[in-house]
Amino acid sequence: MRTLDLLLIALKALRLNKTKAFLTMLGIIIGVASVITMLAIGEGSKASIKKQLSGMGANMITVRPGAGMRGGVRMDMSSSQTLTLEDLATIKEKAKLITNISPQVDANGQAINGANNWPTSIYGVTPEYLAVRMLTVKKGTMINSTDVAIAGKVVVIGQTVYKNLFKNLEDPIGKTIRFNKIPFKVIGLLASKGETTFGQDQDDIILAPYTAVQKRILATTYLQSIVASARSEEVAENAVTELTNILRKSHKLSNKTEDDFNIFSQQEMITTISSTSEMLTVLLVAIAGISLLVGGIGIMNIMYVSVKERTREVGLRMALGGRGIDILLQFLTEAVLISITGGVIGIAVGLGATEIVARVFNWPTCITFYSIVISFAVCTITGIFFGWYPARKAADLDPITALRYE
């Protein structure tokens, strides 16, 4: 029996029972459409979280001085003085997986502009800090290397600081503010970055040359941290290892000694958050998958009835020379045709529903090619799986009994 015959017979059978075929398809349509939509929503929210994290500097690596031990007492991280400008120079020279790097010394204090004051933090950095943290200057300029070299008393302020110090929202550029009584000239205003996923205000900062913060505010020579960006998010973990090796070597630590520094990447956090949204996706897809399963059972049910109704036809086909395999394939083709047609319609409906969700509810959605491939594959397999049993039953019929079936 030829494939074309199988298709023609199946098409005819479906054409003769349009309503029944459509109702059966409906199960598959709903199943496939919901799988596609759910996956699109899941992928969309994952992508949006990822984008948000990348905006924070997902490939950012932070080096902190280590919790050294002094006489058996573990010291507070920030009190250690093991991270120096030499480390910064060594890393700059040797690290291959790092693109931008900046030292960071920060101090908390009160920023004052005339009658307005605001408690905030000042971060002593180099110009590269912008790239590492993915910040942009909205107005004015960033501190430059000359400012760093001469420990210039210039600052770039974040939006929160600006709004609190300049209540009339006047142009801050060129104005002088004081931080812990030391005057700084505002040369730039950062673009707003909003809150982090954890609710930390990223606009509540003042950036100054690290030399200025070291000398004029803290009176220290060591660094509180070094921030760097890995070449990409993928190599972030390797960059951490690379930095660890470089620093251990330059700090001349023997194998037994603990690190006298700590390196953090954002990777862990990203993993945690992505896995949460991944779980959500799995949950959504599981629910959608169940509806696909129900659709499959619908196919089985209808095929079972169809085989019963057409017992005599099966008997006749056998008498005319149809082999068991011909009968099996005939009913299987019918089942698969129902499920594939349902699948194609389901994909279309799913794409439409995704569009509606994106437009009407403004949810982030992302249709992935694999979701379409998977749902199509799954509904085909559903058709074969649930069509098999009834088809097998038809093929196993005894021609004599089938012919005499009333």
Partner: protein
Amino acid sequence: MEKSIIHIENLKRDFIMGEETVHALKGISFSIQKGEFVTIMGTSGSGKSTLLNILGCLDRASSGLYEIDQVPVKNLSRNELAKIRNEKIGFIFQSYNLLPRTTALENVELSLVYNKAVPFRERKIRAAEALKSVGLETRMHHTPNQLSGGQQQRVAIARSLVNDPVLILSDEATGNLDTRTSYEIMALFQDLNSKGKTIAFVTHEPDIARFSKRTILLKDGHIIRDTPVENPGNAAQALKLLPKEE
């Protein structure tokens, strides 16, 4: 020796019903030669349906020999039996067994669908020819519910002819038809037989059997009579003698 289409020797068929064994056929032997027109008669329970199923390769004998067109059937697989049914046997049933909502042409084609030797394009042509040979050339695109019983049976006969089988096997083909239509069908059978078709015709109506050339009478699983029909009737003439329809 002439070529036998059917050759049966000491054929037995037992059915096991729970504890009991029913001997439906208790060792029968006969042959049908090419060009014969045989009626197999018997009351219900005589084993004639069982014999028909075996002749049609739908069932297998418990013991004994059965050869169709010189092929012993005994050790053939299910698929090989299906091939024999397709190529060597044309079935005609009492209840026509046409697919509903399917045209006469498509119904006739059904036999060809399972015959790999017939190319796709040739099917329609062959099916149309078969329908023409039973006088239904004007009804090719009618579905069974648009056809009378006699016409439906003609479609079934066309279907049985289309693969050019060595044997046409008819199971009470006139059982559902009135006398006039029965005679028409018998005339068709006689015509086919005169063109060389071998026909085995199961019936319980002696009135119909007289149009064949030989009668095999079964009773309780035995052949009790196997005789040529003396002066076989001519169905076409008998038809003319029937009183005119009102």
